[in-house]
Amino acid sequence: MDSPPGGFNFTESEMSFTPNIQAFCCHYTSQQSLAEGAESLKADGMPENVTLNRLVCGGKLKEITLLKAFEEGADAVFFVGCPVDACHNKKGSERAAKRVLAVQKSLQELGLGAERAEMFHCARGFHLEFVEAAQLMHKRISALGPAFDGGSK
């Protein structure tokens, strides 16, 4: 396995599993990150197992989109949107947070754990917080283990 991204130290059990993490972000939050390209992001410490899915706005995020990611093998999902009081489209980021909340509730009911879905707010343009959100999820889910038995390794 590749060395852990972001300079984190992992225990042995955490090292044995690489989570499949699907990140969703709005156009504004992701634009600089995407403009930098995968290589630059990697250099900034973006975990390679975190896949970016770009939406035009947080308001376009659907609960089913996050759930489908789990159906397709994700161990966790997260959304990065604008700060609540600085959303380019007024309420898109707030709406996204509500969708994430609904998914957290369902994951809890299913016994998968609400912590497998998370909402982050991050200012427009490139900020290290964007990468740190991915690192946090990577660390959290690495410790938690696969969502499904025999899940993505």
């Binding site: 609960e63 089913i64 759930l67 789990f70 159906e71 299913l110 016994g111």
Partner: protein, 222 residues
């Protein structure tokens, strides 16, 4: 309209534990409007069932479709189009829909995905409140249009009770005393004389305590 909310997914998963082909069937009526059991919610539920089965290491085919309504025979008959695609139906309709499927499809297994809660409305997005209990003998013309049967905790016909404080009901400070609201409203709309009327002991035989109720309209039956 009828207001409902989804049951916990674990409860639904327990219902379908032996099913191999599950049809999540949405209703495009009331439960669609209250975001509990329309097409969007059925699609979400189907996905949650698939995720739940995956977690349990089980396999089943989970499909999803909808009917215009599940409280009319003609629409229930259209379940024929799904023949062979299911061995259990999970209905996201209200209890009426589930009963109708059970009534009209003797061979089909049907489970409720929702807890049917009440008849009410939404004055604010995401918040619903009960407004009518379907008591069968409406008295709203005597109470300024506000229902004491379902909106008064004691269903008083001559309110308020002694527990009403500053317009709030004694059961909880969050609950308005509907009798205070009835008084305020009837005075406001010039019907204060109606408040002098003492309502007689009410005949509750039109409510649901005497078994299922039925309406027959000779002008409509064929």
């Amino acid at each position: 309209m009828i207001i409902a909310e989804r049951k916990p997914v674990a409860e639904i998963l327990a219902m379908v534990k032996d099913a191999k082909k599950i049809l999540v069937l949405a209703c495009r009526g009331c439960v669609s409007v209250c975001s509990a059991g329309g097409e969007r919610e059925a699609e979400i539920l189907a996905s949650l069932i698939r995720i739940g089965l995956k977690k349990e290491g089980k396999e089943a085919q989970v499909s999803c479709d909808s009917l215009v309504r599940q409280c009319d025979k003609e629409f229930i008959d259209s379940i024929d189009q799904f023949k062979g695609t299911y061995d259990a139906i999970v209905s996201t309709a209200c209890g009426v829909g589930v009963n109708f499927i059970a009534n009209l499809r003797p061979q089909d297994t049907v489970y409720p995905a929702l807890n049917t809660s009440f008849m009410g409305g939404s004055a604010e997005q995401g918040i619903w409140s009960e407004q009518c209990a379907g008591c069968g003998d409406c008295i709203l013309h005597l109470t300024g249009g506000l229902c004491p049967v379902v909106r008064c905790a004691k269903s008083l016909m001559n309110g308020p009770c002694g527990g009403s404080v500053n317009g709030r009901c004694e059961i909880h400070a969050d609950v308005e005393c509907i009798w205070q609201a009835i008084h305020d409203r009837m005075i406001r709309i010039g019907q204060s004389e109606g408040l002098d009327r003492i309502a007689p002991i009410r005949d509750w035989s039109t409510t649901s305590h005497g078994g299922p109720r039925k309406i027959v309209r000779e002008d409509l039956t064929i």
